[in-house]
């Protein structure tokens, strides 16, 4: 049985047994190569669920939709490894109760998907440990290194050309499971730390603050990068930040629901090479 069939069946069982009130998965999109988030509430709709290599989106952000989990009922969700990591972070930041989440985990390969064993977010320590070792986003490594090898002036020029394109649609923020703030800092106008105008300076400030707020929290699902309508390579900044917290603090985000937020904690012997 294909994993798609397997999970359709599982979703149907979960829904008909009443174990979950909702399954968040993927459905067919407008075009054959597209998949869209799908919310399934009854067993007979589960045939609309799709699961294949085109299922790229990290659906975990929908879990923190206001009020969704307030009734203490469970929700089933299709999640890749990044999604599992985001649920861990959301749990560690008290945004959800991980025991309300029934995971139908999958691993995406080039052309196909395979199932991940487990259904609670605590069931995947080995997979996450392996992930930490192989450093996801390594595909971007070469590009990141290319940028790092530039002079500061060149890097500045590179990012200016990218940020100049930004139209401040905030798709990067809205699509990100970690951007759950009730009020984003950019929407605080007393004071207006981040300029809301989408001139290069405002865009630069916004993208820096976004990356900083995601440092040590980003799971590199690539959602922001895919959502960006003007194709700013946001994944590169996130990758660089992930490298930083891994190197400096051995922090790989989303390892467990009890993980400490890296920027809210410290060690007395944290490295410091640059402080005069």
């Amino acid at each position: 049985m294909s994993i798609q069939e397997q999970y359709r069946k599982k979703a149907a069982e979960l829904l008909s047994s009443g174990e979950v009130k909702l399954v968040i998965g993927y459905g067919a999109g407008t075009t054959p190569d597209r998949r869209r988030p799908l919310f399934v509430r009854s067993a007979d709709e589960t045939s609309k669920l799709h699961l294949d290599a085109a299922c790229e989106a990290n659906l975990s952000g929908y879990l923190v939709t206001e009020g969704l989990l307030a009734d203490r009922k469970k929700v089933g969700i299709f999640l890749g490894p990044e999604g599992i990591r985001s649920v861990n972070i959301l749990a560690s930041e008290s945004q959800l109760d991980p025991d309300q989440i029934v995971i139908m985990g999958f691993n995406r390969e080039a052309e196909s998907v395979s199932a991940l064993e487990g259904s609670n977010v605590r069931d995947f320590p080995a997979m996450l440990a392996a992930l930490k070792e192989q450093a996801p986003g390594a595909g971007e490594q070469a590009l990141v290194e290319r940028i790092e090898n530039m002079t500061p002036e060149e890097r500045f020029t590179f990012w200016q050309a990218e940020f100049e394109k930004c139209i401040k649609c905030y798709a990067c923020r809205q699509v990100c499971p970690m951007c759950y703030c009730r009020r984003c800092i950019v929407d605080n106008n007393q004071p207006q730390w981040v300029q809301t105008s989408s001139h290069t300076l405002g865009n630069f400030e916004w993208n820096l603050v976004r990356a900083f707020h995601l440092s040590g929290r980003c799971v590199e699902c690539g959602g922001c990068d895919r959502a960006c309508p003007v194709n700013i390579p946001l994944r590169l900044i996130n990758r660089r930040m992930a490298m930083e917290v891994l190197d400096a603090y051995d922090h790989f985000s989303g390892m467990s629901p009890d993980q400490e937020t890296v920027l809210a904690s410290f060690k007395k012997d944290d490295p410091e090479t640059f402080i005069l």
Binding site: S215, R240, D270
Partner: protein, 149 residues
């Protein structure tokens, strides 16, 4: 350039150590260049990366962030938190092309008036050599320019 370029430097310091160190530089009548403007905060823990961005927006050519030595924080651990933030934010600035020569961090205790004066002197000197932060200023200039199309 005929006239020597005088950089604008903004320093964000904690009141218990570096601010007191700067006071000590004063009571010791040490001399340092007048390019620095000090913003006093209770603790390095209070110094947000946003302050650095705003200082740059305000036209700073260099920024100094300074507080108590590790272990000496009046609030016990504000500077440890600050250190993590700086490490990460610094990496981010570096990756996006803000030269790190312009954004400096230091531990200066209340007793280190000499260190304060010397650091401000060397920082001013370094940034004078780097010249104005033209790339950032160009970005600021764009915000003041009418739309070209």
């Amino acid at each position: 350039m005929n006239e020597q370029f005088e950089p604008k430097i903004v320093a964000f310091v904690c009141t218990y150590c570096t601010y007191a160190g700067a006071d000590l530089a004063g009571t010791s009548r040490l001399k340092y260049p007048p390019n620095v403007r000090i913003v006093r905060l209770p603790c390095t823990g209070r110094i947000s990366p946003m302050f650095i961005l705003k200082a740059l927006q305000k036209g700073a050519d260099g920024v100094l962030v300074s507080g108590c030595h590790p272990g000496d924080c009046h609030f016990t651990s504000g500077n440890f938190h600050a250190r993590r933030r700086w490490t990460v934010f610094r990496a981010l600035l570096n990756f996006t092309g803000i030269p790190l020569d312009r954004i400096r961090f230091s531990w200066i205790s209340a007793a280190e008036g000499v260190k304060f004066a010397e650091l401000i002197s060397s920082l001013t000197d370094d940034i004078r050599k780097l010249g104005p932060f033209e790339q950032y200023k160009a970005m600021i200039h764009e915000t003041e320019t009418p739309v070209s199309l």
